[in-house]
């Protein structure tokens, strides 16, 4: 192929990812520029066709950061669905529901609000565009541009390539967006942050990252099923004590219920299936009664960073900062990350603005970002609970006990617990199930009735995901181990952990097995990139604009 000529766009600060972190960063930058009376070129790249389309969360919002960013956010019409009116925590067994007598303090949501993250991000995006920031939706960051060990910008993805990667008539090469400072807000397991972590020693001395996957549905239910503003969290069934996670049920206005299941991506049973577990959760009497006669509105799935303080990499380097979920700023004890994403986005903006004004955007100057994190609310919130997720690696009860202890002591005098990368904890079929796998309960799927429970493909339809079919695959899989090793050892876990049926194993007429990748089904959750035991799956962004449509989620 002949080398393509690329356009370049020069800006002062480039933000990759138009989620809560990226948009908070953009807005903060424009506030600084206005205050100082200087002009500052800020651009935001967002792979979704419109702002918020790929944003997925429960979501309970701690409004503290939003208040700092936009003090009169209520008056400006921020889409806050309802204040939280009551909290419940239940422990579930297969048939029973046991209410915890007290709500553990980190799960008390007094003063917090229920929001649709999709709507909140859309609203933030309007503010950001009004402030004069260029928000480029439908453009994915494909590669980090590095020159002399310094991040100088990002190359966006090519458009108009066919399945084989050859340019079609509408071909448009990606653009090199060059910036004095690039702020990576590309979300959980962001493909560009992943490149940074591979290229620079940012994670040296840190614990391995930890993740979970959350599956969520939005339902419209008959009136009176769940009080508006009620927040329910569940522990136990359908997860076993060795599996980290839990369920949630949030009461939204207009008889809408947001429900979901979060499962740690560090499970040991290779036959564990998060989507199947979600269906089991929905068939539990507590949930089934709530949804009976209702209607599924939307479905979605997304990974979340659960590792906590000790797994956060160095977040400043020459010419670049990392903020939000991309770096792992999420409080897994409080089950909240939006306020931390926005907070780190704002702190990144402070540091980037200072560096651009000073004409020095080296890692040394940008280290003010790290200092601001260490001195402020982010560390104050995350440090005491830094070991909690790792403690749950010992099981639910030791984990809960440890979490309680961490709360009492504020995390002082506690030894740091080592974690393992989640995918490395997966056991082989034989190790876990013995020789006769078929005997195990998990080998059978829960029945799908298409009223309450759905198969993956139907769920995918409700995610609204769409990709142009004729484009290169965006899931780069080294398939050599699929049938030779992964199949016999782990039973192809990709077909289970993917919540969108991207992966299928087909048996050919001659009996050989082949991995079929339905890339167009992808909901951009990143689970496969995280969890595949051989780490042979790399998620790269598909052509900009493709992906789920999480309206109202």
């Amino acid at each position: 192929m002949t080398p393509v000529t690329r356009e370049t766009l020069d800006v002062d600060v480039l933000i990759v990812g138009g989620g809560p972190a990226g948009l908070a960063c953009a807005l903060r930058l424009s506030q600084h520029a206005t205050q100082a009376g200087v002009s500052l070129a800020v651009a935001v790249l967002e792979k979704a066709r419109e702002a918020g389309a790929h944003s997925l969360s429960g979501a309970v919002l701690d409004p503290s950061t939003l208040r700092d960013l936009i003090p009169d956010f209520e008056a400006q019409g921020a889409p806050i669905a309802t204040p939280v009116t009551s909290d419940r925590v239940y422990f579930l067994t297969e048939r029973r529901t046991i209410r915890l007598p007290i709500v553990p303090p980190p799960l008390v949501n007094h003063g917090n609000s229920l929001v649709s993250l999709n709507q909140l991000v859309k609203w933030l995006a309007e503010r950001v565009e009004k402030a004069g920031v260029d928000l480029f939706t439908g453009f994915a960051g494909q590669d980090v541009l590095i020159e002399d060990g310094r991040v100088v910008g990002v190359r966006t993805g090519d458009r108009g390539l066919d399945r084989a990667g050859a340019p079609k008539s509408g071909f448009e090469p990606g653009v090199d967006v060059r910036a004095k400072v690039t702020v990576f807000c590309d979300g959980v397991r962001g493909n560009l942050t992943k490149q940074l972590l591979a290229r620079f020693p940012l994670a040296d001395g840190r614990e391995p990252e930890q993740f979970a996957v959350g599956l969520k549905e939005l339902w419209e239910v008959p009136a009176g099923r769940l009080p508006v503003g009620r927040v329910v969290h569940t522990l136990g069934y359908p997860l076993r004590h060795e599996e980290f996670g839990g369920g949630f049920l949030y009461g939204f206005p207009d008889n809408h219920v947001s429900l979901g299941l979060v499962a740690g991506l560090d499970y040991q049973d290779p036959l564990f299936d998060p989507h199947d577990a979600f269906n089991r959760f929905k068939r539990h009497p507590l949930v089934a009664r709530l949804l009976d006669g209702g209607r599924l509105v939307r479905y979605g799935a997304k990974a979340l960073p659960e590792g906590g303080w000790n797994t956060i990499p160095r977040v400043h380097l020459d010419g670049a900062l990392i903020a939000g979920d991309a770096a792992g700023f999420l409080n897994s004890m409080r089950l909240k990350g939006i306020h931390l994403a926005m907070r780190t986005g704002m702190l990144a903006a402070d540091a980037a603005f200072d560096a651009v004004q000073a004409g020095d955007t080296s890692a040394g100057r940008l280290a003010s970002y790290q200092r601001a994190i260490d001195a402020g609310t982010v560390r104050r919130e995350l440090y005491p609970v830094r070991n909690v997720h790792q403690a749950f690696g010992f099981g639910l009860i030791p984990g809960a006990a440890f979490a309680g202890l961490a709360l009492l002591t504020g995390g002082r005098w506690m030894q740091d617990l080592a974690g393992h990368a989640g995918h490395a904890r997966m056991r082989t079929l034989q190790w876990y199930h013995g020789l006769d796998v078929s005997k195990h309960r998990r080998a059978g799927r829960v029945e799908v009735d298409r009223q309450l429970t759905f198969d993956r493909l139907t769920n995918v339809h409700y995610s609204g995901t769409a990709h142009r079919e004729d484009q290169p695959g965006h899931l780069l899989v080294d398939t050599t181990v699929c049938t030779t090793r992964c199949g016999p050892e782990f039973g192809h876990p990709c077909i289970r952990f993917c919540p969108a049926q991207v992966y299928e194993i087909h048996t050919e007429a001659d009996g050989t097995k082949r991995l079929q990748i339905n890339a167009a089904n992808c909901v951009h959750c990143k689970t496969c990139d995280i969890m595949d035991p051989y780490q042979v799956i790399t998620w790269v962004p598909p052509e900009g604009g493709g992906g789920p449509q999480y309206n109202g989620m």
Partner: protein
Amino acid sequence: MTLVVVEHSAGVISRASWEAVAAVQSVAPDGEISLLLLGSGIGELAAVAAARGVGPVHVVEDAALGAYTPDAYIFAVGAAVAALRPRLVAMAHSYQARDYAPALAARLGAPLVSDVVGLRLENGELRFRRPMFQGKLAAEVRAVGDAPTFVALQIGAFRADGVKSRTDGGASSPVERLTVDFTGFTNRQTAEPPFREARQAVDLSQAERIVAVGRGIKAQEHIAVAERLAVALGAELAASRPICDNGWLPMDRQVGSSGQTVAPKLYVAVGISGAIQHLVGMKGARTIVAINKDPDAPIFEVADYGVVGDLFEVLPAFTSELSKRSR
């Protein structure tokens, strides 16, 4: 002086070329403009161009320019530029221009600004506006380097009726023949006569009857079984996504959310389980017949007639019964 390369086909000067003239006039209403017309047997066309009175029309005629080829255009426009020494060479951002202008500009070491939607002068220097990011952003650029500057103007960005005549009395501008020596020129391309793409994409939405195959067909060679039924029914052959995904049938035969939406009188779903992505593309069919091994397949929920069975037994039986009747 500005040279505008005029494009024509079938004896008509393209409107986009007049738009290019208007664009140039918009920044320098009194500037000198010449037109360049290339072709073979274009004397009449030159007179038509001259009648607009925008400036002298330079004509290069040669058999090599009869049908467009990039080699001949690069050679001829290059020779004209060398002879006339314009500061600016303007043209419509047409397929032809996209083809030859970059090569010519590169050969001359001259700047090329393409897809321009606006021009303005700043301190006597031209600034060009052009879209970026698929039109989400407009960039203003300036050409760097020696004259001439090549500029290709986006079609439709300027109004052709804005072209102003420079000869007040309505007289024609002069036509000047420009001799270009084609000896030693070898053309690496030969142009075939123009044709229209013959193969129409299949428009399943107009089909009265459709036989659609799904994953149950198992192998590409088995599609013939369904094809025979389609022939017997006088139906179009369609497929669900996995079939087209495997390349067993072309993409334009795909029915469903990522394919076509159809509403035939008869829809025979063969080995299709009925994923919702497929159902949204065909649930408008008047009569749906489903053939599937799995009695729990969701396709039976929308089917008017359902056959639970092996399609390799059911289909041939259907086909032979149909052919008997038509006999």
